[in-house]
Subunit: 256 residues, 2 copies
DNA sequence: CCAAAAGTGTTTAAAATACACCCATGC
DNA sequence: GCATGGGTGTATTTTAAACACTTTTGG
């Protein structure tokens, strides 16, 4: 199938495969250069960027749909995805965008399920920046990381969605462990602290942070230090996966 | 329109008015006799009870759809509704129930949008038990309050949905004020404490509770005491609505 | 040898918890 | 008059927050 055939098929027959009116938006967070990043796509012919999204296959659990979107945009699997809110204003429609898109692609269509209003279920994921290989979707020509601190105006209500994901994540930090999938396998205490600081957008006390994070038992210190760094070499840590997973389920009650 | 015509129309033409595959479930909590109650409906010809639900009109915000469900089942308006989760397993279908229903109503249909899988957005509300007038929907013959502590087996995943609503509410309790819409206009300190105890399902210390709830500033003590009660008459309180609403937005950070 | 970052404990303040006596009312 | 529930304050424990000096390494 050519690119154009694929597109035409999606616009005309997509509703045979997917649930109409329903979409998934994934907020894919990464952490790099001591900054929190989020993965965005650039729809062709559009001025604004967008959150990666997708549709729900008719017999597919919505969690699987979210995981599918994540995999398609990053290549990553088995990542913890957190549903945080469903967005359903009646003006959530990409009709304009799609019309522009079709016009530029030379496809003529009067109607499509894709012109309708969409209720979108929001999920966020925390992934290891270096392991993700950003891949644009069929509507987009780019897929890139953006610093959360400098997000441009996005399509529709995507800025709001991102904001809500972030504040949900900030709350979540107090109850559930994060970092696995987001940090390299071995990492240092200052690194994980900067991750927390970045997400919370404030400084934390080194000693207090260390005490608390150690108190959760999700970290194991190795008898290695990070090599090739200036100044004193920090210890390397890894996650204790068993305890990490347990804490994901039952929470770990501490405040930062 | 007769009842049967209404029904037939809904099953055959409902998808012209409503978004397909999408429903709303409302967990309507009330508080009475020092117990937390939840409003359930009994679908005709079914063995099990269900959460009150509804559909989303094509040009309607999903929040409005939830408010509509709440109003239709209780008569109540302007109640705070909290979206808490969206449920989307592919086996969420009431096809069996609907088939049984149609069979018993003498309506013959081969297909209907109502036989499909539904993704359901969950909202919960806290309402004043005495002000609600339970009203069955078109599919149901009963609509009644149940004690949260003794909920029977419900249809589909409704038990899980209720459980999730409750645990969401319990967490919410630490961040946002509750009680308005749930308690009578004037209420006593022991009453609101029992409300908290009921939701959290554990005893709280009288004095500590009083200190904390007063610390939030959302209560105003009246120069009246509750009349016609045995023993020492407790003071009456009302909510300071301005502060209450402010706290609803910005949170009030205390733990119980 | 010095600047820059990491390792480590203690002190202080705040918050949560535990706890006991007096008061008013209906029976 | 007594049993029952409501009103009120303090002492204790726990938890969070503030804080400083020593160690290591690269330049």
């Amino acid at each position: 199938m050519t690119f154009e055939e694929k597109l035409r098929s999606l616009f005309t027959l997509g509703n045979q495969k997917y649930l109409e009116h329903l979409s998934i938006d994934c907020i894919i967070f990464g952490f790099h250069d001591n900054e929190l990043k989020v993965l965005l796509v650039k729809p062709r012919y559009a001025d604004e960027w967008a959150l990666p999204g997708g549709f729900v296959i008719k017999n597919e659990p919505i969690e699987d749909a979210a995981a599918r979107v994540l995999k398609e945009r990053t290549g990553l699997e088995d990542i913890y995805l957190q549903q945080f809110h469903t967005f359903g204003n009646p003006d959530r429609s990409t009709k304009k965008l799609n019309t522009l898109f079709l016009k530029n692609t030379g496809i003529k269509l009067n109607a499509s399920w894709m012109f309708d209003r969409f209720v979108s279920i929001g999920y966020y994921a925390l992934v290891e920046y270096t392991k993700a290989t950003p891949q644009p979707d069929i509507f987009s020509d780019k897929c890139e990381w953006f610093r959360v601190s400098t997000i441009p105006k996005l399509i529709l209500d995507h800025n709001q969605i991102l904001k809500k994901a972030l504040s949900h994540l900030q709350l979540q930090l107090n109850y559930y462990p994060i970092g696995y999938n987001l940090l390299p396998e071995k990492f240092t205490m200052p690194e994980i602290q900067k991750l927390y600081e970045t997400i919370l957008n404030r400084k934390l006390d080194r000693r207090n942070f260390q005490r608390k994070i150690n108190g959760t038992g999700i970290l194991k210190r190795l008898n290695e230090t990070k090599q090739g760094v200036a100044h004193k070499a920090p210890y390397l840590y890894i996650f204790d996966l068993a305890k990490y997973r347990k804490a994901l389920q039952s929470g770990l009650g501490f405040d930062l």
